[in-house]
């Protein structure tokens, strides 16, 4: 335990069950460093929000202990934890003005009126809503409400801020803008942020580290680029980004490479990340942009495929192909201005490097 000293948050063997029959969170161990932006990413029902609620104190852990700055907090009520929180629906108090909303955490801490005012104004300026103090939340747009919610969670200078899908209700453009703003606020203030989302783009854009949740277990905890480049299992590979999968059997393992035989007797070379050994089933994972259409040079893997569909998307062309009995095999071809003579129904050669193809646990 001593090596974990200094972590802002530590989950230690935390389990959670609502009904006493199934575990929503299974044996969670997680350290969050001070000043880190950590995102809990996963599909709905994966246990990520439950983890956040246990940290906030709204759900008791069934087993295990959560530490905040090395102090166990299982028996500390939410209002004494000093954690700022941004809720999914903002949870701005509708009967109070924006300024009153922001002053609320300061009032309950018994701060003087002048101090309150100074802090509220500073927080409003931070989210560029300086003149909106007297408005009611209902008079603000979604994006503005969102900023107020962020400002309210930060106004009492908490060391840790939790965000529960805070951008879920915003439209795409606003969501992207807010992602950058939250990221900048984090960099500026240096607070620890634990962020929950099911949107992988959001997770990749903002986080220092991402914990991918599924079925109550952290599938992988890595920096965004590692998560995308080196997924540890098929779930992560498919949840983060677009992914082609080919099922096959491992026929040979040699050092940093293995050979996998897929449908049609095609043998492919891949990076053995998560396989059981020779003879074991595996699922190959391959990013669409790593596949070369009609490669000019020799590549580790070269196969033929039939073009099923072409979709023009401006910056790239999506080519859906039938490769090794997989009709959903997608290749992204960058639009470089050259005119490729390809059409639906053509049989063309494609190729990719062995290192870009990950042999992972099998999924049907």
């Amino acid at each position: 335990m001593s090596e974990n000293r200094g972590a802002a948050v530590r989950y230690e063997s935390v389990q959670k069950s609502y009904d006493g029959e199934t575990l929503v969170v299974k044996n969670l161990n997680l350290d969050i460093a001070r000043g880190e932006f950590l995102t809990m990413l996963g599909p709905s029902g994966s246990g990520k929000t439950t983890c956040l609620m246990m940290l906030a104190g709204f759900e008791p852990a069934t087993h295990g202990e959560i530490y905040l700055n090395d102090n166990p907090i299982n028996n500390v009520p939410p209002h004494k934890r000093g954690i700022g929180m941004v809720f999914q629906n903002y949870a701005l108090f509708p009967h109070m003005s924006v300024a009153e909303n922001l002053a609320f955490p300061l009032q309950v801490r018994g701060m003087s009126k002048s101090e309150q005012e100074a802090k509220v104004n500073r927080a409003l300026d931070m989210v560029e809503l300086g003149t909106f103090g007297s408005r009611r939340p209902a008079q603000l747009s979604g994006g503005q409400q969102q900023r107020v919610a962020v400002a309210r969670a930060l106004v009492f200078d908490p060391e840790l801020v939790l965000m529960d899908e805070p951008l879920g209700a915003l439209d795409k453009q606003l969501r992207e803008q807010m992602q950058y703003e939250i990221k900048h606020i984090h960099e500026h203030l240096g607070v620890t942020i634990v962020y929950v989302t099911h949107d992988q783009t959001e997770a990749l854009t903002m986080s220092d580290r991402v914990a991918v949740f599924n079925d109550g277990v952290i599938q992988q905890l890595s920096a965004p680029d590692v998560l995308y480049e080196s997924p540890q299992n098929s779930f992560v590979a498919q949840f983060i980004g677009e992914n082609n999968k080919l099922n096959g059997t491992v026929t040979e393992v040699s050092g940093s490479e293995c050979t996998v035989e897929v449908a049609g007797g095609i043998k492919l070379r891949a990076d053995p990340v998560n396989i059981t050994g020779v003879g074991g089933k595996t699922t190959l994972s391959l990013r669409p942009e790593r596949v070369e259409l009609q490669p000019e040079n020799q590549m580790d893997n070269m196969v033929d495929g039939k073009i099923e569909e072409l979709i023009y998307l401006g910056d790239h062309i999506r080519v859906r192909m039938n490769v090794a009995d997989n009709k959903e095999f997608v290749v992204k071809v960058r639009n470089r201005g050259e005119r490729r003579k390809i059409a639906k129904g053509d049989i063309v050669q494609i190729g990719w490097a062995a290192g870009d193809c990950k042999a992972l646990d099998v999924v049907e």
Binding site: A56, F58, P77, H79, F87, A91, F93, P105, V108, F156
Partner: protein
Amino acid sequence: MSSTNEDHVSNGTMPDDGIMRAADGTPLKQRLAKALRREKLRSFLLIAPLLLFILLTFVAPIADMLFRSVENNIVEDTIPRTVEALAQWDPEYDQLPDEAVFKALHDDLQIAVAERIHTRLGSRLNYESSGMSGLFRKTGRRIKRMDEGDYKAQFIAADKDWGDLETWRVIRRFSAPYTAGYFLSAADAERTSEGIELKPENERVYLMLFGRTLTMSIAITISCLLLGFPIAYLLAHLPLKTSNMLMILVLLPFWTSLLVRTSAWKVLLQQQGVINDFLVWIRLIDDANRLVMINNQTGTIIAMTHILLPFMILPLFSVMKTIAPYYVRAAKSLGANDWTAFWRVYFPQTVPGIGAGAILVFILSIGYYITPELVGGTSGIFISNRIAYHISSSLNWGLAAALGTILLALVMLLFYLYDKIVGIDNVKLG
């Protein structure tokens, strides 16, 4: 609809008077009204049956009833000639009306007696001055035996009250087709020779009753709120299955007869009743000092709180149901303890429900009749019991109507004040 292009073209040729115009040059507002007219007509036809029903069965009877509070045609209708002759007479002048008036009265009464309506006039005037009923009945029996000539002496011989100036002043005062008399009585006031004055202390009853009705209604509303708020909170926060079960218990009183429920309270609250027996049994009170909880204000407040409680719980419940749980969570995450989170964040959001419930309970209780009648005794009755008495026992409908009108005006006034202070748009039933 014309295209944007056409609009541009025609706009150029149109007078530039600042009025928005449609493509054909008619003002846009006029055009819009025409387009909406069909729709309006259709909606009106849809509600027309209900509107008619309400007009016939609700608005018209109430208007008629309210009108009775000032209407006073009976005197003019029964003794029209007398009223006409009496118009010449100066009531301030200390002399009886002249022979012509007595002759007119004789003629009028002869017809009235034949139609047997003179006693009704007697009862009507009796409200204003006691003794009038007997006077008319007595005179009615004698009228046939009167001879022609010198009616004045014959009337006074029939009843010496006809020689009293006050009798004539009353007839004269109430011969107008409209009167404020009912309203004056309803406000415990009367018209004397010195103008309008309050009645002597021992005759005042209605002001006290109005006051009691208001204070007791407020007490009932407050106790409904105190009892209903926690239940509504519980209902709104329990799992759906349990809360549905409890909701049935809340609604149960609606499905049992009001009379049964009120009678049940009689059984429970009376001195030899269940509650007193129990308290004596656990030796909390002495057998000799059993509590008096019925036939007084306590009984009325207890029984009416029970009966009106659902009207407080239901709006509160439906408002609480809409308050998302994350508000209280947010408050706690911001550092508020349970009480502060409740009081500063949860409670203010229930105010629309409290407003709706309080208005409902208050307005219902201010006009409540049956429960105070059964468990109120004499000290626990409401103004509506008095109104009912005048409708069905004393048959003084005019006074009943005046009391009803005052009650209605009072409710309207309170409603207006509520709107000014709390705002009627703050009331939510769900």
